[in-house]
């Protein structure tokens, strides 16, 4: 299912001086520019990495975190926020950073394993306790009288995953008949009462305000809602088919070379792939890449059919086809 990209770290860092660890004992600071739902994950991960790095090299490292909407964070880096590493929601956002300012190589996805995505997530449904509307799969969301909550794909990265997952389901149902897929999407989005500007906003609308019968959400957000706001109020429904959300990570080459933090920045992202890093990801409800860790948490992550964004021709194409002005999402809302 996944094509493993070879780990080819050599091309960018070969000309680096390799004596970095011996004389760089003075404290170093990393800035990790991330997106909203990873806040808890990186809090825990940073603590672990700081201890690990101290033990490995004797060097003190402090890690600054910055969180916000993924697109907004990407723009901040383009506009000059000096991030050593970026850990964003979409490859598209990192692609833009690569293109707009050439801050990193365009083939950054090949830097680390699994397309530089150490953890994944998918799109699931959160429904009210007892599932009163009997929601089991995507087609239930198009029924009359079902109120759906999802953010606006124009402003939210998470909402784009939701949209593509629904589209992938319709594509499978109607054997790729474009007209029928669009009709399906129109029905689904016709049931949406509120299009919040971000994923957390939608969660608030559904959970706190009690609006809607079903929230389309990241699996990790759904678990957070469940555990923080009450297991006795909500249930998670895993649909038959969804999309593999791959939030990528990358070292921002130009900036680490300028600051001289390449070594620690690369180690930081590599640490996400270790058993310990994978465990922390799983604990924070992100699906780990490691088979062993996934096995351990298999009750938390039911298996389902997953398409990837590659099935949509990659983010660039998906963005153009569906979410840019005049794309399919705009079409759905064309007043007839």
């Amino acid at each position: 299912m996944m094509i493993l990209a070879g780990c080819s770290n050599s091309q960018s860092s070969s000309n680096e001086e390799k004596d970095g660890s011996s004389d760089s004992k003075k404290p170093v600071e990393l800035l990790n520019v991330s997106y909203d739902p990873t806040r808890e994950l990186y809090q825990e991960f940073n603590e672990d990495f700081i201890a690990y790095w101290k033990e490995e090299t004797g060097q003190d490292v402090t890690i600054q975190q910055s969180h916000g909407g993924s697109g907004k964070q990407g723009r901040a880096v383009i506009d000059g926020l000096e991030a050593d590493v970026v850990t964003l929601a979409l490859a598209y956002d990192i692609d833009e950073i690569a293109q707009a300012r050439q801050l990193l190589n365009e083939d950054w996805e090949t830097e680390f394993e699994d397309n530089s995505t150490p953890y994944t997530s998918t799109i699931v449904f959160l429904v009210r306790k007892g599932n009163p509307k009997g929601i089991k799969d995507w087609n239930d969301l198009t029924k009359k009288g079902v109120s759906v909550i999802t953010p606006n794909p124009k402003t939210s990265g998470g909402a784009r995953w939701n949209y593509l997952a629904a589209w992938a389901y319709a594509k499978q149902q109607y054997n790729g008949d474009e007209a029928k897929i669009k009709a399906f999407m129109k029905d689904l989005y016709g049931n949406v009462e509120v299009l919040d500007s971000g994923a957390r906003g939608s969660t608030t609308t559904f959970v706190e305000r009690g609006i809607g019968d079903v929230l389309i959400a990241w699996e990790n957000e759904a678990y957070l809602s469940l555990n923080e706001l009450g297991k006795d109020e909500f249930e998670i429904v895993t649909p038959s088919l969804s999309i593999l959300a791959e939030p990528p990570v990358a070292v921002v080459d130009k900036i680490v070379d300028k600051k001289g933090t390449r070594e620690v920045a690369e180690a930081y992202l590599k640490h996400l792939y270790t058993e310990k890093g994978q465990e922390i990801a799983a604990k924070n409800y992100y699906r780990p890449r490691s088979e062993a860790v996934l096995e351990k948490y298999k009750n938390q992550f039911p298996s389902l059919d997953l398409v990837t964004v590659k099935d949509f021709g990659g983010w660039k194409k998906a963005q153009e086809t569906h979410f840019n002005d005049g794309g399919t999402f705009d079409e759905i809302y064309q007043p007839k």
Binding site: K154, V192, S197, R209, D325
Partner: protein, 277 residues
């Protein structure tokens, strides 16, 4: 608008040149420079792209919504802001200082907090929303409520000082000449207040136009129905379409400037009329 004089008259107060120079520099750096960036960014698109961007169906729908709700909020603030100012100036009651302090709170509150609080109140299952059989949050009505909330202090704070300095003798005179309260208010007091009310209105209106933080929560952001123009600008930025975003911002700026200019013109005219009558 000073008429050009042939002979240069010496100004009695010295330092005009220096202070004017400082003012111009300050305004340029603080206001004109960022604004010019908006225009410069827009010039990266050609004319036909520009027109196409600013006349898109959803964009036009958002203009109507943004200007309409900002206007409605401005008018509401004029009516109730004037009443609040009146009560605060003319009457004494326990807790008056507290009420006076409360008026400024919408300025201090982060807009997102205001948005979330208002949405919680006016959502269909909310504390207030549940008593209505029509939707308030996620409709233009909800947007008007949010914009009224954030613009409240403007009118109150502009009208208050004028009322405080208002000469009571004029009122007494009008009463002794046989005018009733309403006539006194309309013919004597209101004309004095109009410039201040207009200033308050234009501030509240301008503030409401650019408001994003509190509105996105209560608007519902439904395409063609409740998408405000600042949200459309955000959607352009999400597509890394800087030029498109600034093009729409340019339209907002130009229209706002024209509206504020017209309001100022009205003020000059009314000022002259009342001061020279």
């Amino acid at each position: 608008m000073l008429p050009v004089r042939k002979k240069k008259r010496r100004n009695i107060i010295p330092g005009f040149g220096l202070s004017l120079g400082y003012t111009m520099l300050y305004v340029s750096i603080l206001v004109l420079l960022p604004l010019s960036m908006v225009f410069i960014n827009t010039t990266t698109m050609n004319w036909s792209e520009f027109i196409e961007t600013i006349t898109g169906e959803r964009v036009v729908a958002s203009y109507k919504l943004s200007f309409g709700t900002a206007l409605a909020a401005g008018i509401l603030n004029v009516i109730f802001g004037t009443i609040i100012a009146w009560v605060l100036v003319r009457y004494d009651f326990p807790g008056k200082r507290i009420v006076d302090g409360l008026v400024d709170l919408p300025f201090a509150l982060p807009t997102a907090v205001a948005g979330i609080a208002l949405t919680t109140l006016y959502a269909p299952q909310g504390w207030v929303g549940q008593f209505f059989n029509f939707k308030i949050a996620f409709t233009p009505l909800g947007i008007i409520i949010a914009l009224t909330f954030i613009g409240l202090p403007f009118v109150v704070r502009t009208v208050q000082p004028v009322l405080q300095n208002f000469n009571g003798e004029v009122e007494e005179a009008s009463a002794s000449l046989g005018a009733n309260r309403l006539q006194t208010f309309i013919k004597v007091i209101l004309p004095e207040l109009i410039p201040a009310i207009l200033t308050g209105f234009s501030l509240a209106f301008a503030r409401a136009l650019g408001e994003y933080g509190s509105v996105v929560f209560i608007a519902g952001n439904m395409p063609m129905k409740t998408e405000i123009t600042p949200l459309i600008i955000m959607t352009k930025l999400e597509q890394y379409d800087y030029a498109g975003a600034t093009a729409i911002a340019t339209v907002m700026l130009v229209v706002s400037f024209l509206l504020l200019f017209i309001i100022n013109m009205i003020q000059w005219v009314t000022n002259r009329k009342f001061l020279h009558s």
